[in-house]
């Protein structure tokens, strides 16, 4: 087996040095009662060529571009990934290296992460960003726990337009710590109803997602104004950070902590993971931050270098008093995001964000022209909600048979919104794709009469 280099000769020589009579004898210190009763019942081993066939067949069954046109967003976004980024990730010095605890031989990872931290902080308009968490959902959970540590209050207000699956994760994380979670309802225009915050005492944090789950841009400044100079921390969340290439940053609107999902930045969708949890905050909270942090410093010759720093916050030192239990994070995804943002550039991110917006607005316009209802009036980025006439389920299925996935049905998440679908258009969809979608939808509804 090509990963096991030992020859019979090697094994014999080494057994002699260890004093064991056989490979089995190496385990003689394990009591007989603890030894496995049966051999491993596993398929394989497969040759490399058999494995290729098995995996190719499984992959073939998946509905992906270019065969399928998938107009889905909702926390996972299809964006073009430049060949240069994929290529650079093939440099195994990045992927096969360990956590940079020995900085002298990890400057590649450390500088790349320092640059990622800078990209994240600049994008979100914050002072510092950490070197990644698992995903946007756990990042939001960690942000709420962090706000509770800082404010010493366990009452939080969470928008009902935060991604439904994120809200489930928050409840799981906060349940053992007995938090009081107030969920904020939404208004007719597709944004959060902030009036429910009025008069609430002892609030440790308010969390709002923008663009929210309906794709709408929230009035973050309004929340910022409410929380400024109070004990309440303002947390903003996001699932599509490309929006900040177009819209005002959370930091410029009073956010204390900004967190979310960075998958849009060059990371393949990969059926939901691995992705990139981003978390950034104001300088004053840095010692309460979860996750690793890379700092700039000098070596004994005065040369610039980078190290993991403020490690006393973390589990391997603080143990049960750590700011989080996180150890392994999403480092390589953070480096991927940095590579992507470096390639995109400041000019490019504005152009790409604008292109996403315009393509999505084009679909909106054409759907309206075709007589379909756009229920929420608030501005959006690259996804929005459409309310279809009753009977849409069969139309949706027919489109799937034609290899088009026309958005995400919202009813399972918002039972009072039947026939509402969340459609996403990124730069990966051409005008032709969009026209085809509209005409197919129109055609099917006409057919149904």
């Amino acid at each position: 087996m090509r990963y096991l280099p030992h020859t019979e000769e090697d094994i014999a020589e080494m057994l002699q040095m260890t004093g064991a009579s056989s490979l089995d004898d190496l385990f003689s210190s394990i009591p007989e009662a603890c030894r496995r009763k049966t051999d491993l019942r596993l398929p394989g081993p497969l040759t490399e060529w058999e494995l290729n066939d098995v995996m190719a067949a499984l992959a073939q069954s998946m509905a992906v571009a270019p065969q399928y046109k998938v107009f889905l967003g909702a926390g996972s976004y299809e964006h073009h990934i430049p060949a240069s980024v994929s290529y650079l990730l093939g440099r195994s010095e990045f992927s096969t290296s360990y956590t940079p605890y020995q900085p002298e031989i990890s400057q590649g990872t450390l500088q790349a992460l320092f640059e990622y931290q800078t990209f994240a902080a600049f994008l979100l308009g914050m002072d510092v960003a950490n070197a990644s968490l698992y995903d946007g959902a756990s990042a939001l959970a960690e942000a709420l726990l962090m706000a509770a540590r800082v404010s010493r209050l366990k009452k939080v207000a969470v928008s009902g337009l935060i991604h439904p699956l994120y809200r489930r994760v928050i409840r799981t994380y906060l349940e053992p710590a007995e938090f009081e979670i107030i969920e904020l309802p939404f208004l007719a225009d597709g944004r959060t109803d902030l009036s429910k915050l009025e008069g609430v005492e002892g609030l440790g944090a308010v969390a709002i997602q923008s663009p929210n789950f309906f794709g709408c841009i929230e009035d973050l400044s309004a929340v910022g104004n409410l929380t400024r100079d109070t004990q309440t921390l303002f947390i903003t969340s996001f699932t599509e950070p490309l929006a900040y290439g177009l819209y005002k940053s959370p930091g410029s609107q009073g956010a204390d902590i900004s967190c979310g999902e960075g998958q849009s930045f060059g990371i393949p969708q990969s059926y939901g993971g691995p992705t990139l949890g981003m978390l950034a905050c104001l300088k004053r909270y840095v010692r309460s931050m979860p996750g690793r942090l890379v700092g700039m410093t000098e070596d004994m010759d005065g040369k610039r270098g980078f190290v993991l720093t403020l490690a006393t916050r973390e589990q391997h030192i603080r143990r049960e008093k750590a700011t989080s239990n996180i150890c392994t994070n999403s480092s390589l995804c953070a480096v991927t995001a940095a590579m992507y943002l470096a390639s995109l550039g400041g000019t490019g991110i504005r152009e790409l964000a604008r292109l996403n917006y315009d393509k999505s607005e084009y679909l909106k316009k054409e759907l309206r022209k075709a007589g379909f209802k756009i229920p929420f009036a608030a501005a959006t980025f690259n996804e929005f909600v459409v309310e279809f006439p009753p009977g849409v389920e069969t139309v949706y299925q027919s489109l799937i048979d034609r290899k088009v996935v026309a958005g995400l049905p919202l009813a399972p998440y918002y039972p009072r919104l039947p026939n509402h679908y969340l459609l996403c258009v990124t730069e990966t969809k051409t005008k032709k794709d969009i026209d085809a979608l509209v005409s197919q939808l129109k055609g099917w509804f006409v057919k149904r009469g």
Partner: protein, 484 residues
Amino acid sequence: MKEFAGAAGLVLNEPLLFEKGKKGRSGISLPRRDVEFSELDETLTGSGPNFPDLSEVEVVRHYTRLSTWNFGVDTGMYPLGSCTMKYNPKTNEKQAALPGFAGAHPLLPAELSQGALKVMFELERLLAEITGMDAVSLQPAAGAHGELAGMLIFHAYHKSKGSRRSKIIVPDTAHGTNPASAALCGYSPVNVKSNERGVLSAGAIAAVMDDETAGIMVTNPNTLGFFEDNIKEIAEIVHAKGGLMYADGANMNAMLGIVSMGELGIDVLHLNLHKTFSTPHGGGGPGAGPICVRKHLEPFLPAPRILEDNGKYYLSYDFPSSIGKLHAFYGNSGIIVRAYSYILSLGPELKKVSQLAVLNANYIKERLKDTLHLAYDRPCMHECVFSDKLQAPLKITTLDMVKRLIDYGFHPPTIYFPLVVHGAIMIEPTETECKEELDLFVEAFKEVVREAGEDPELLYSAPHRTKVRRLDETGAARNPRLTC
């Protein structure tokens, strides 16, 4: 005289991205604009982030140069104890990159995602077979995430029994994530010392186990490299008081095909796919930390679960006793594909993996035990622990020795962990290192120890051949500079 890998390389300097570039450059091919500009609400728009504009060449050179400053498993041996830095098979990368897996949206209807669902369903069963447990969730994104899931399961189980438990037993050899994860669930850790043989004694556990204790978190083999041979008795003690057994499976590389965790009395176990199952460490992540439970705890597993009906796979959230959700979707599917590929490639030969991992560790132990102080002179599992005791009279520490080891072309072993051994040096070679590499490693360490006696300054100021020398970590912590 052997030639060591450590030499002087062609390593170039490279500034920060933010010190490069010129406005107007681009490193990306912007898709064709085939729609009109739409109206924008100017009160909402911002000025965009202050990123540099770089050409593709600048970006490629930047990261190519940075990569040369990094040591990876593909560069050389990483004998990091409890990290299992084994070789990362390239075919795994190829499978994960297949467009059907890499390009898949997690919210596709089940009928359009059968391949990914099947891989996850099958991997759950393979891991159950390997560990001797009954049910698995692949949702946790890392070991610590799996530990959190485990602690939440403990919490939910005890709640369902109407029992309020506030404590959890944590051995002194435990990884820092163990008490940290327990604390997230409101458990106070009760520290227990290992005995003179470096394992837990049943008596020590019996002394602290009561009906306010949720259970115990063990690592087996433990971080000293020893099989916890009293574990069955400990399980009986813990279970007798209504507690549960949690096992940190980080050291599973010693146990494949040798021991069944389920048969030892373990109730909940997490695995690290980025350790035992060969997925790459990525410079700190991503990994995956699946959690395996015995049947009676299956209802508490995170949701959704993957179910199968007549050869068709689908996701279900219909598990009322589930602890809930820990990850936005279903876990790190891309990592899962890699681990699945690895297990299919090895099949029952996984047992050989553990046998050779343990052989390699014992070989190093025997060859180094006259050079370094062996913390416990007993046969070890897949890792062994030394200390700097023999070098103390020379005023040489563990840190000094391992920093010099870098100049010989090796990544240092794990140092100063476990905490129970002062100046600990934990060495885990893994099974993918060949005998010649192990011999070179031993020779290099012997050289370093010889230098410690003859020319200690070489060690104090090591490493010498790296891109940067020893860094001012104190300054970095006193005045943190975390962005450009």
